[in-house]
Symmetry: C3
Subunit: 323 residues, 3 copies
């Protein structure tokens, strides 16, 4: 096995170029041979806790665990359990049935590792920015925690994205990577966009971010990227174009524009003829991204989805190495 | 193992007498020894995708997979995921979150085999008759697909029914098999009735179908059966009586009659004293079928349910032989 | 393995001091070495059927089964299936889709063992007191059934509680155990309180029960306990204090008091300085029990939750010994 330089306690965000690189390489090893470390997790259990819906994340995490011999147990906290109280000191005389500190501690005592999905409210900025709900699980479970998308980040998606970029780039120069906002009708979290910027910059790529005015992301994630409000200019000579909607960060959770001209079609690629297009899925076709692009040769979306399995497998394997 | 004559790509319907016969025999082998092929599916995963509720199908498919060493992963798409868009070219600016072509392709890349339940709308006849939703999964997943009941057919149920008939018939003549409509208060799909007719005729049995006027099934499935509007006459000398409600096919999805006299009681069997009674379950007692029959010696319903495991095991085993 | 004196058919309630003792000892063996009997359940399947939400019970039962090599399959009957008809002879022309006698028989034919959660209505006293729904599963499944909490009892919780008491008591005298009612805003079942009384008395402990007037529990479970309406007096010299809300039993399912003074704080322990506090979880903080107590050194709630795994493992193991 590849030797990993930096033992992780939790997997919640981008940590370092070296670790990113090691995880990408380990994932590619697993993609070539999923059963390579079949016995590594034997006798161990990972609890996959969902506070929100999921398809790719739900299935790929279970498959990754099984590939390593772990037994995954899925808990749909929102549907099979009950509403969790998040506030310290709350008098619980309303709708919440159990405090997160109690639930997290119990789950921590049952499993060897937890993987947790906790979306933002998009109404309480301070709480969302502090990754409040997810952090409570980390704080009170007492065991290793993997983010299956928190209020601010979606690191397994971003690792899968970086694997996909590595597989699809053989040029000598750094690829030009563009993250473009796409239209949507609902208020969408910032996690995927934040994480994509964080990982792309962290892996020392050249990143341009383009969006309508008012859609500036949190600078914590975008520092080092070029911000270009003219989408057409941003796309020039692009090698990879990552499409994603997000709601406003400054005017928190608001929809400021649904400008359909931001949806990519072949017309947008006149000055970037060989650009590949990425999206984390689920994608709203012909709203965020056109059929033309999604069903054409530029699209890497299915490769990204497939790489979710090996991203998760690399991360779980890495964490197993430290317990 | 029994050698299977005809390699299948998908299991969606009745294919041939020979294949039907082989699947029945293989299922009976597994019933005698469920662990016979315990290693056959090792390292393989089957995704069980439910767009609708399920009890027998859900559990029996998982058990069948486990009997063959496969790892089943269940996804309640309707509850744990989100609403799928089915229309090609749709502008997805309403309630649907992901296009079936994207979801199916991802699931196809994650699993070795898919099993899918997709009920009809009973409002869009053309779409239902073309098995639109189920067919999209087959088209876009790119892997082997097993029907767990589509808009038009329920082939695992029908295979279990044929196994049950074989186990319960030792006569020299062909048994007389009757499919009778039973009353219901809701509009019910045609899938079980269609499939039962398709398999019963395909397995070269003598089939009589009886129902009130207006409840004629799609002739695609019933060609070769006797249609008899007089239930009492249809039941004469019956060896097996399959009870099922369905809504109208011509006046699509409508309830034309709830005539309680069609519900079978012992009185109905005066001219068929040794007839056995079958139903796929769930059954609405004392509406579709009387307690008297269900709790009496004629009833094969529990045997049918039990055979669901071995029907699924035979089918998965057969499909495994071709990948 | 420890030899168990008394083969059980089902695990639904306290049976005897000897069996209780053996289960506690077996659970402690498993706690020290969860993989001790890893092969005991190989090739067997347990169906975990939930008619109500669950966190600890859901996860701990699956883990216990896996520790013994069984394959657990979870079925959320209320969400993944449909509404069950409970009344014998019902004409099923309303909302219920399947009679429990049919569903239970099918599940019984699919699994080697069933584990079932079925809460009370709190509106039909006679039905609840007879454990009607749970008993139907026992009656019609035809296989071994474990209670995951019925209308009247929660025996796996009580076994975990007794394990926790044993681990936390090294005194020579019998510990003084107090069961105290705590306030709540919803009508809560009696099962945990009933079972705790039944097991505590059955294990030959000294039990005092305290609650506001009107909250008397069913004497079937409390005979032999001291009933003390003055909470402060009841708590004097207590070694273990079990906190639980329940609705009225006589004026069935009603909330008679929400008197906040019954919620335990450190002030309540002036005359019981070394008392430990127990609760089955989920607990409504600062309504049933104060943060001060739950987060302090008296609290055994996390130990109780952890012991749920080994309680279930001991019970499943015992039942496996008899099939």
């Amino acid at each position: 096995m590849a030797k990993l330089s930096q033992p992780l306690q939790h997997f919640t965000k981008f940590e370092s170029f070296d670790l990113g690189n090691e995880l990408i390489e380990l994932a590619l090893l697993y993609k070539a041979n999923p059963a390579l470390d079949k016995a590594k997790g034997e006798g161990k259990r990972i609890g996959c806790i969902f506070l929100n819906p999921s398809l790719r994340t739900r299935v790929s995490t279970q498959l990754a665990a099984l590939n390593l011999g772990l037994e995954p147990i899925v808990l749909n906290m929102d549907k099979e359990g009950w509403a969790l109280e998040m506030q310290e000191g709350a008098i619980m005389n309303k709708g919440t049935v159990e405090h997160i500190k109690d639930a997290a501690a119990v789950l921590g005592s049952y499993f060897d590792m937890l993987a947790i999905r906790a979306f933002p409210s998009l109404t309480n900025k301070e709480e969302d920015v502090s990754d409040f709900v997810f952090s409570q699980f980390v704080k009170y479970s007492g065991i290793q925690v993997i983010s299956l998308e928190s209020a601010t980040r979606h690191p397994l998606q971003s690792l899968a994205d970086q694997i996909t970029i590595r597989e699809n780039w053989s040029g000598k120069k750094k690829p030009k990577i563009v993250l473009t906002w796409g239209p949507h009708i609902k208020a969408i979290p910032h996690a995927v966009a934040n994480s994509f910027a964080e990982w792309t910059l962290g892996m020392d790529h050249d990143l341009t971010i383009t969006h309508p005015s008012g859609y500036e992301l949190d600078e914590e994630f975008t520092k080092g990227a070029k911000i270009e409000y003219n989408q057409s200019k941003a796309l020039e000579d692009a090698d990879f174009v990552y499409v994603k909607n997000w709601s406003a960060f400054n005017d928190y959770g608001k929809i400021i524009s649904t400008d359909a001209s931001w949806m990519l079609t072949e017309d947008h690629f006149k000055k970037a003829p060989s650009a590949k297009v990425m999206h984390c899925l689920p994608v709203r076709r012909n709203l965020e991204l056109s059929d033309e692009i999604l069903d054409g040769k530029r699209s890497l979306v299915q490769e990204q989805a497939k790489n979710r399995v090996y991203a998760a497998q690399a991360v779980i394997s890495h964490l197993l190495g430290t317990i």
